[in-house]
């Protein structure tokens, strides 16, 4: 998500075009984060809309202490968590949480191609995690929020967050290794072949 500070400041000053451009540039990222947290496309689209309503209300108070992307990510997290608290889940995830039509925001350098391919495979596996584990893992490991931030957003203790994180990572690694046919997945372009070649 690339957002210029000037664009944010223009939107803060009431520039209509700037605000709309801000939405255009960030809505996919917000939707993806929401989808990973709430687990289905319909709720994720609703969350995305609610996020921007909140952004319109709160943008004036944004002080550029963190990046706009970080701030927007926190807003998305809070809205998604509020939505989840309000609603009982309408249907099980069953793969629906997978952003099936993922697109890369920019062309990837060659050395990152494998990392991106692995990330796409991981997306499927993350979607299959139990909801509590998935949310903690997404916030902490995908979006880089601190344990305390995750705990606050989810109404958990930091200890509970660590337990869920541990379980999620352990499970994900095991499932990833199983999916890779017993290979230890490496991002460096080389794999320690312990099973079949993929």
């Amino acid at each position: 998500m690339e957002v210029d500070r000037e664009l944010v400041e223009a939107a803060q000053a009431g520039d209509r075009w700037a605000l709309e451009e801000l939405v255009r540039r960030t809505h996919r990222s917000v939707y993806t984060c929401a989808l990973r947290l709430v687990g289905n496309p319909d709720d994720a689209a609703d969350v995305t809309q609610d996020v921007y309503l909140r952004v319109v209300r709160k943008l004036g108070g944004f002080r550029h202490e963190a990046s706009f992307a970080t701030w927007l990510n926190r807003v998305t997290t809070n809205v998604a968590m509020s939505t989840l608290k309000r609603r009982t889940r309408r249907f099980a995830v069953e793969g629906a949480a997978v952003p099936a039509d993922t697109r890369d925001p920019a062309p990837e350098p060659a050395e990152r191609a494998e990392a991106v391919a692995l990330a796409r495979r991981l997306e499927l596996l993350v979607a299959e995690l139990p909801e509590g584990q998935r949310q903690v893992l997404v916030l902490r490991d995908v979006y880089g929020q601190s344990t305390e931030e995750v705990a606050n957003a989810m109404g958990l203790t930091p200890g509970a967050v660590k337990v869920r994180l541990f379980r999620a990572r352990e499970r994900l690694k095991a499932e990833l290794e199983a999916a890779e046919g017993g290979q230890v997945v490496a991002l460096s372009g080389r794999r320690r072949a312990t099973g079949r070649r993929s």
């Binding site: 709309e20 496309p41 039509d101 697109r103 990152r112 692995l118 490991d141 994180l165």
Partner: protein, 137 residues
């Protein structure tokens, strides 16, 4: 330390461990190839998860348009703090002027002019002349 006791520390990121835990893990991993492989796998997993943040899903058709319509309706409110501060200051100034005028008018209407008070009752420390005293004079 045994592999069994180090195992719970392997999935953690370095900043999630206490210095003692971090040094215990590092020391064990340095001498245990199996735990070193596990640790490396978790590290790679962490890198791949971070890459996920850059992947984007395409929202359902019409999502962007709906957002733009909805925020267009709500955006009539002023959100710029500078504008809000200026509006607040102007409001406070107007309120101050109005209150000051009202108080001045009230004082003029109620207070007996000092010139009409009996001279002897205007000494400090003496009670304020009442209307009855003024009339008696």
């Amino acid at each position: 330390m045994s592999c069994h006791s180090i195992r719970p520390l392997l999935p953690a990121r370095a900043e999630e461990l206490t210095p003692l835990e971090a040094s215990m893990r590092a020391e064990h991993v340095a001498g245990c190839s199996r735990c070193a492989a596990e640790s490396a796998a978790y590290s790679r997993l962490g890198q791949a998860l971070a890459v996920m943040a850059h992947l984007e899903a395409e929202p359902p058709e019409g999502t962007l348009e709906r957002i733009l319509v909805v925020i267009g309706r709500r955006r009539t409110r002023v959100t710029d703090p500078r504008v809000l501060a200026a509006a607040g200051s102007a409001g406070a100034l107007v309120a101050t002027v109005v209150v000051a005028r009202a108080l001045r008018q009230r004082r003029h209407a109620q207070v007996v002019p000092a010139a009409s008070w009996p001279r002897r009752l205007r000494l400090p420390g003496l009670p304020v002349p009442t209307a009855a005293l003024a009339r008696a004079k």
